[in-house]
């Protein structure tokens, strides 16, 4: 991974964007407290420290945010600190697909948005979901053969968060050493 050190803040170039759905968030909220807390904290750091997409590295689509907030699944401040809410019907997504091709399906909407995210640096996006939704994503024809968008479920997604976290902490240590 490439590194970028600004004057005073450690910024990291991560190898992919993150698009998280409500199912992954529910799964993480139901996980062991230590895993839950450390994973949300790592997601907040990743979102804040991204060199290329600071504040918008981790995305959650508006309909997922709305549902999580309506059922009071978690504190809104921390949900928004972990993920940037984006509206699916976005002019930029229409660049990828014509309006008439937009299906009324939440899984397709996430996949299309992830494809659009992968049209920008770092040209890769991981969709985080729960293990229960894996089959639905796997069967989706729009994901067939794609390499720039990949689905990570449950523990696989946690491994990806840990990988990004290690990159960030390594950058941070290197920065501290260089500024001794």
């Amino acid at each position: 991974m490439l590194k970028n050190f600004s004057d005073s803040v450690v910024r990291t170039k991560y190898t992919s964007r993150i698009l998280c759905d409500k199912y992954f968030t529910d799964w993480l909220l139901a996980s062991e407290p230590t895993i839950k807390l450390s994973s949300f904290k790592k997601l907040m750091f990743i979102k804040s420290s991204s060199a290329e997409h600071k504040g918008t590295h981790n995305i959650m689509l508006d309909f997922d945010v709305k549902e999580l907030l309506s059922k009071k699944a978690m504190n809104e401040n921390y949900l928004r600190a972990s993920f940037k809410e984006e509206t699916y019907i976005h002019d930029s997504v229409k660049e990828v697909l014509p309006p008439e091709a937009h299906p009324d399906d939440e899984f397709c909407n996430r996949i299309f948005y992830a494809i659009w995210l992968a049209n920008k640096t770092p040209y890769s996006c991981h969709i985080f979901t729960s293990p229960e939704q894996k089959e639905i994503y796997d069967k989706n024809q729009h994901l067939k053969g794609l390499t720039s968008v990949r689905v990570k479920t449950g523990a696989e997604a946690l491994d990806k968060i840990d990988e990004f976290w290690k990159t960030y902490t390594l950058d941070k240590a290197r920065y501290a050493f260089q500024n001794l």
């Binding site: 005073s8 803040v9 839950k36 807390l37 949300f40 904290k41 907040m44 804040s48 401040n77 921390y78």
Partner: protein
């Protein structure tokens, strides 16, 4: 009308925010809390947004705070 918002961001970004944005008001005490906060930590910053942005409280996002508020 004043809107209260909460932002969670890296210490260095909050320090830059109060340094660069001239429309931010903040007590000397909170300025010191922000400038003394450990780098590389997350800060929970409560703000009031009217015509100016007023910082009304700052907390380091510790494991304890996260455990309490993420319930």
């Amino acid at each position: 009308m004043v809107v209260k918002i909460i932002d969670i961001d890296l210490t260095e970004d909050v320090q830059e925010f109060i340094k660069v944005n001239a429309d931010v008001t903040c007590s000397d005490l909170l300025k010191k809390v922000i400038s003394d906060a450990p780098k590389g930590e997350l800060l929970k910053v409560s703000k009031e947004i009217g015509s100016f942005t007023k910082i009304i409280s700052v907390e380091i996002v510790t494991e304890e705070l996260l455990a309490k508020e993420l319930q």
